[in-house]
């Protein structure tokens, strides 16, 4: 299947005005570098619809496999991100269909509302990843350790609890605290930047 740029733009309604929009593809070697630039956004897109980390990662993995498989069909000059998101959308659709009897599936309206949220600030991801690093650096070592276990080692909260010998409730509390502090820090840093 080939996606025209217009089709993709219409289907995605996503962070389309990203700077990465026009990418020339010379050969298949560029797949990974293209992917690296937009994998976070595709992952976020999937999480908006399927907010369970394991399910989202499975869908992301399947999406990347299809992208790689169909990379020859990707048309130079179109947005790689939008192309990826269109593929992710199909994967999400089949995931939702398979799990249609589950009570823990968002209805489609919420996905659309979150897409609108995403389109409010197209520069968001560049800005965030830039300042987030500084914010992580400011964390206490122990809290950084929590993040490392969660995001580098991909441990679940239960496994982290076992690691630190604390209850799951304590891990939830701690992780929420860390995430909110980072969010707070990112906001503050961006505010400071814009006031300069």
């Amino acid at each position: 299947m080939n996606y025209s740029y217009k089709e993709l733009k219409n289907t995605a309604g996503w962070n389309m005005d990203n700077k990465d929009k026009l990418i020339s593809v010379s050969d298949s070697k560029s797949f990974l570098s293209l992917l690296r630039r937009c994998q976070t956004q595709i992952h976020t897109y999937i999480l908006c619809q399927v907010p369970n980390r394991n399910d989202a990662e499975d869908i992301l993995q399947d999406t990347i496999v299809v992208m790689l498989d169909k990379f020859s069909e990707y048309r130079e000059g179109t947005s790689f991100l939008a192309w990826g998101i269109a593929i992710a959308r199909n994967k999400i659709k089949s995931f939702k269909y398979k799990n249609r009897n589950s009570k823990m599936i968002f209805d489609d309206s919420i996905g659309r509302l979150l897409e609108q949220e995403a389109s409010k600030n197209p520069e968001f991801f560049q800005d965030e990843s830039r300042v987030l690093k500084g914010c992580v650096e400011k964390l206490e070592p122990k809290h950084k350790r929590y993040l490392l276990l969660r995001y580098e080692q991909d441990m679940t909260y239960r496994e982290i609890g076992r690691q630190f010998n604390v209850s799951m409730q304590a891990v939830y509390k701690m992780m929420t605290r860390i995430q909110l502090s980072l969010l707070h820090c990112v906001r503050l840093s961006l505010q400071r930047e814009s006031s300069l």
């Binding site: 993995q61 823990m104 949220e117 070592p141 929420t176 980072l182």
Partner: protein
């Protein structure tokens, strides 16, 4: 309550609900509440989206956390925490379901404690501040890399590691910073997420997580069940992400790697983590080499290059090859280990090491075999008095031919065929077959036999054969074979059958192959140059495979003719998939 407090409360609520959702711990009523919030409250949506985006950024952007390993140097921002504690105090309590810790130990497994590994920087700090006991306590608490157990040793054959630790089955393995060097033997490791790998010495490897291993050199075979899709093997110049398959990877000492796909499919990326490279999806039967420049080339698939399954009881490894029934007759396991005998006495069921030329008569009784778990029994077939027993479970063959119960020699496994059929002398007045027979007799008959009269291809040292003179029957028990290979399935019996080439030409015979007493193949009057290409499909429920060679009833010479009826199964194999 102020506006800011309300906002903090909402933020905290959304963050907790999202975390519950992400971890899969959320309750239905909490999920409904989250949906209601997102649907009706734009501020909740904004918080939610920001948190998701941050989650994905932390997950996908390696550099953010990767550079944070040296934790002792980083500043600690008290201001940040003060700001947060205000938010936290104003937040509502959200119920986090108490989940019982699952019972992990199903059977007793001896867990090995692995000493804490200190990072370089923390070791330095530790030494420098030895006097400050309070600081030491703090460092001990925070500095060591946490020990995260990710896999268990499940099998091992003669494995020796450079650290001289005994990695017995049951040993738990932790994520490592330094590679393990397997100097000798073979080891099988099962990761906690379900994938298992067999690694063969010499090899150097490092466990990175429950679904990630680095192979720095050596050979590794991975079995990845569907539920563990995404298992990754990293090599110095490539990465393989599995999609529910079996594959082998070989890493040479120069760091180049080769991937052989045995089943299913996987994606192969050249270049190490974080580098740009090529990507390909490989399916079963394909093989690729990644050279030092990161270029991927197609290479010849090698199915039997990797140790796939360990059979510690037999002290051997299975490399994907089929089971050789000739080896089993020699007392082996079908994988070339049979050394003790050269055949079976068809009247006693005992293993024999010397062939005794004898012409005898049997009564058609079924005799169990005890020297090999893979052979059920032997018999001298004679259907003249009704059905005969062909297994220890009492399976009957109802269409066994009527024979005179005569047989000659024993059931003989011929490991190699080294008598060259072309060695006969043209100036010798005797026929070629007679010369060959005499030659074989002189050279230690009959272990140095033999090919088929009519086989187009000359047998080589890899070929094996099983010689059954008329009238003899032999039943294999497939169940213990199947039980040895949890990863493989018996699918077929195959062999090429004909008259052994040492036999004078007028000979002819009948062949029957039965499965659990059911006749699967019956060929009569097989004479030179006829060959029977035997292909019998087998299923997992099939247990007893019977081979029966009888004198051909069509020949008027009767007993004299039967004395020359050498039936030969060339490459008798039970095939595995």
């Amino acid at each position: 309550m102020t506006h800011s407090n309300n906002s903090n409360k909402l933020l905290h609520e959304v963050a907790t609900l999202l975390a519950l959702c992400m971890e899969g711990d959320i309750q239905p009523e909490q999920f409904d509440h989250l949906q209601t919030l997102l649907r009706g409250n734009p501020a909740a949506r904004e918080h939610y989206y920001r948190l998701l985006a941050m989650h994905a950024t932390l997950q996908e952007t390696e550099s953010i956390l990767a550079l944070q390993n040296d934790l002792s140097k980083t500043p600690y921002d008290q201001e940040l925490w003060d700001a947060l504690s205000v938010e936290e105090q104003t937040a509502t309590a959200i119920e986090i379901p108490l989940v019982k810790q699952p019972e992990e130990i199903i059977q007793h497994v001896e867990r090995k404690k692995i000493p804490f590994a200190f990072s370089k920087s923390s070791r330095f700090t530790f030494a420098a501040s030895i006097a400050a006991s309070l600081l030491i306590i703090l460092l001990l608490r925070f500095a060591p890399q946490p020990i995260v157990e990710v896999a268990t040793v499940t099998n091992s054959i003669n494995s020796i590691f450079s650290d001289n630790k005994p990695y017995q089955p049951g040993t738990r393995l932790a994520r490592q910073d330094d590679p393990l060097w397997l100097q000798k033997g073979v080891i099988e490791i099962e990761f906690d997420y379900g994938a298992s790998v067999v690694i063969e010495a010499p090899a150097e490897f490092k466990l990175n997580s429950e679904e990630n291993i680095s192979l720095l050199s050596g050979r590794l075979y991975a079995h990845v069940p569907d539920r563990s899709k995404g298992f990754m093997v990293e090599t110095p110049n490539s990465r393989v992400i599995d999609l529910g398959t079996e594959f082998g990877i070989k890493v040479d000492f120069d760091g180049t790697s080769a991937l052989h796909m045995i089943k299913g499919k996987a994606s192969l990326f050249s270049g190490s983590r974080g580098q740009t490279g090529q990507g390909q999806i490989l399916t079963a039967g394909q093989a690729r080499h990644v050279d030092s420049k990161g270029d991927i080339q197609t290479i010849q698939m090698r199915e039997n290059e990797f140790a796939r399954t360990l059979l510690p009881d037999q002290g051997i490894v299975w490399r994907g090859q089929d089971f050789d029934l000739a080896d089993i007759v020699r007392g082996g396991s079908g994988l070339g280990t049979g050394k003790s005998g050269i055949g079976i006495d068809p009247t006693t069921g005992n293993s024999i090491s010397i062939i005794r030329p004898q012409d005898l008569h049997g009564q058609g009784e079924y005799t169990p075999v005890s020297f090999s778990p893979f052979i059920d029994g032997v018999f001298i077939p004679d259907g003249g008095h009704g059905p005969i027993t062909v297994s220890s479970e009492g399976h009957q063959c109802t269409d066994c031919p009527d024979t005179d119960g005569f047989f000659r020699y024993e059931i003989i496994s011929c490991p190699q065929m080294v008598v060259d059929p072309n060695r006969y002398k043209s100036d010798d007045p005797r026929p070629r077959e007679e010369q060959l027979m005499l030659m074989a007799m002189q050279e230690g008959y009959p272990s140095r036999l033999m090919g088929l009269h009519a086989a187009k291809q000359k047998p080589g040292p890899e070929d094996t054969s099983l010689l059954l003179h008329a009238n003899m029957g032999l039943t294999f028990d497939l169940q213990p074979l199947q039980a040895m290979l949890p990863g493989g399935k018996i699918v077929r019996f195959s062999a090429l059958f004909g008259i052994a080439e040492v036999c004078p030409e007028p000979s002819d015979l009948d062949l029957m192959v039965l499965v659990d007493g059911r006749t699967q193949l019956k060929k009569q009057d097989i004479a030179h140059p006829n060959l029977v290409d035997i292909q019998i499909e087998l299923s997992e429920s099939d247990r007893f495979l019977t081979l029966m060679v009888t004198e051909s009833g069509s020949n008027s010479l009767g007993g004299l003719n039967a004395a020359l009826d050498w039936g030969l199964f060339l490459n008798p194999k039970v095939e595995i998939e």
